[in-house]
């Protein structure tokens, strides 16, 4: 409504000024809500003809075409999930930047956390074993003296 009024006003003012008809710019990919979703999904999909760019980042013809098609699908009512599934059906899991969760990717998804568990476990057994293994003899009176002297010497030098 506001736009129409603005347009009307500007049309009326045209003979009196050189100002061009300005308007709020349109999204390259449809309405605002769709635009956000298109870009969001495009960023999750790989541009197959580019070297490591997403459909969202690339300006190649393929990417622009794909974004247009995604926009169409979303305007037709498909959800984000459905659009991604559509692409995966045709191009395989490779087109998604998020690796799938299946038998072949178990190691990928769980690996780090398993490794963390193992690491912490090894660490703790080591620390506890160490406690028993290492026998520390306390310093003798003489060694204590010597240590104190060295420390005083050291801090004296630092002050200089």
């Amino acid at each position: 409504m506001k736009n129409i009024l603005l347009l009307a006003l500007l049309c009326l003012s045209l003979p009196l000024s050189y100002q061009v008809q300005a308007k709020e710019a349109e999204y390259t990919t449809g309405a605002p809500e769709i635009h956000g979703r298109v870009m969001g999904v495009s960023e999750e999909l790989r541009c197959l003809v580019c070297q490591g760019q997403s459909l969202g980042d690339s300006n190649s013809e393929f990417a622009v075409d794909m974004r247009a098609q995604i926009q169409e699908m979303m305007e037709g009512g498909m959800s984000d999930r459905q659009v991604i599934d559509f692409m995966v059906e045709r191009y395989g899991d490779y087109v998604r930047y998020r690796p799938p969760f299946n038998a072949t990717t178990m190691l990928l998804w769980f690996g780090p956390f398993i490794l963390l568990g193992v690491g912490v476990a090894v660490l703790y057994t080591n620390v506890l074993r160490r406690r028993k293994q290492i026998d520390e003899t306390p310093l003798t009176e003489e060694q204590h003296h010597r240590a104190a002297e060295l420390l005083k010497e050291g801090s004296g030098e630092d002050k200089a």
């Binding site: 300005a22 710019a25 390259t28 930047y97 690796p99 072949t104 990928l108 620390v127």
Partner: protein, 677 residues
Amino acid sequence: MIPEIGQFALIIALCLAIVQGIFPILGAQLNIRPWMAMARPVAQGQFIFIAISFACLVYSFVTDDYSVLYAASHSNSLLPIQYKVAGVWGGHEGSLLLWAMMLGLWTFLVSIFSKNLPDEMVARVLGVLGLIAVGFLLFLLLTSNPFERLLPAAPDGRDLNPLLQDFGLIIHPPMLYMGYVGFSVAFAFAIAALMGGRLDAAWARWSRPWTIIAWSFLAGGIGLGSWWAYYELGWGGWWFWDPVENASLMPWLVGTALIHSLAVTEKRGGFKRWTVLLAIIAFSLSLLGTFLVRSGVITSVHAFATDPERGTFILAFLVIVVVSSLLLFAWRAPKIEQGGKFEPVSKETMLLVNNVIITVIAAAVLLGTIYPIIIETLASLGLIEATNKVSVGAPYFNAIFVPLLVPLVFLVGIGPLARWKKADMPDMLRQLRWAFIASAIVAVVVPFLMGGWQWMAALGMVMAMWIVTTAIYSIRVRFRSTNAELPWGHRLNAIPRSFYGMHLAHIGVAICIVGGTLVSNYMSDKDVRMDIGDTVEVGGYTFRFDGVIEIKGPNYIANQGMIQVLQDGHEVMSLKPEKRVYTVQTMPMTEAAIDTGVWRDLYVSLGEPVSGGAWSVRVYHKPFVSWLWAGVILMVLGGVTAMTDKRYRVMARKEKKAKAEAEASNIATSKIATEKA
């Protein structure tokens, strides 16, 4: 003529490297003094010849010598002078020569700043560095000769890739390589220690400054790369978990673990075997990174021209280096004495947990980066279906990185406060209760100030605030423990620089977390079609498209967009994004227009012209993105500060002592003189 000199200098460098690699190590093993003494001069000579070779290549570029194939492929007479120089490392062969030169430089520095090390150690360290140099020089001379001739000479060069014709090329690779290669020094120290069977706190003290500088350089290099990608690639991304980026992140992560581990080895004599292993792993990851980037096994925007033959060579080199060092480790490590003991709750344990977490993160990054290769290999062997080929991208890495970061950040807070040997956890937590509360408050308030609740933003803020508040508290506690009778300045000075460096670097991490979290969660952008006069509103600013004009640059023509930015109705600035077409390599390139600010960046890039004089334009509002670069700068400053701790400046202390003695004797003689007089 000059290119031939360059190539010849490389050959001489190779010969010197061979001598440097063999004799000193044998000399140390068999206790032959003259052979050990060879190490320094031979190493310095090697550096000089590599430097000569590098200078020859720069000369070829600067004098437009297109009879050199590499120059003809990566330069052009119209190229501005600074890019002719930087273009030397714009391609595979030249960047490899830069690698070799950095290695020579580090070797040279080690040969100078090692007067207080025992001769066998110096001999071994320089020897190992020599062997590594042999590998790289052979690689250069056999498969990647930058001085190969092109006859007849090309009338003009094919120009440097327009994406590289940028300030970023001048600083990012050199800084990055200083870091990458710098870990070879830590590696050499580790190998030398294993060879000599001497692994103690002194060894750790010698290694540590070298490791910290390399780490600082690598941090700076990665940060510069990220910043460069941000403003150059046209869509304002700053980290893509791209394989090449991961290749630089992995050694840096392990390097971080190494610095922390060295602290324990230096102060408590503990973790020796683990520290040595980390040093080997860090450099191995550097080499692995070199392999990944230049062999063609991965696809990336950053990858160099790929060639399986080169890939095989690097892989062979990597295998030789890593297998021999890990064999040496397996043989010698069991004989290394254990350090002091400590309780399950102690500074040592916390540093160990820190190491475990960081190592797991690095391992996860490695796993994610090479997983596609693993799957494809298994598929090609028929063990699984070929359609299992996957992409492992940002969603995976973020899903792993963030959960692992949380416990790590918690440790950053309590670690510095914990005592060696035995720490009192309940007491520490009690001391830090205000830090907890402050972090929680900030975590709740900031998201709303930014525009709306986001869990990730809250998490990021709580982590960053925790680091900062605990750092302030830790500094305060330390300050209180200094001699209260001294003036402020003296008290601050009494605290070692490594302490300040640590907190500075930690705070740098916090600032990065703030930047990364807030920009990821609160960035707004619009991709619009703009006719002349059209406006679009992003982030509270209005952007008006005033058309496009054509401009001419030194070696390109461009369409320059005129975007007027308004805030609350009045014009605040104009932004001029460009779409350039370079004369030689005619590929179109986007130069985004960025207004950098402390609290936000405004980022505009031109898309494509569409019908009727309109253009597609992308406008971004990126809050706090410059905090990312600020955080990295703080990390680098932290590293440099820590490194200048007087503990490491033995030379300085010796000089001071000598000076003091000289002064004392002067006073004595002058006293005698006056008495006599």
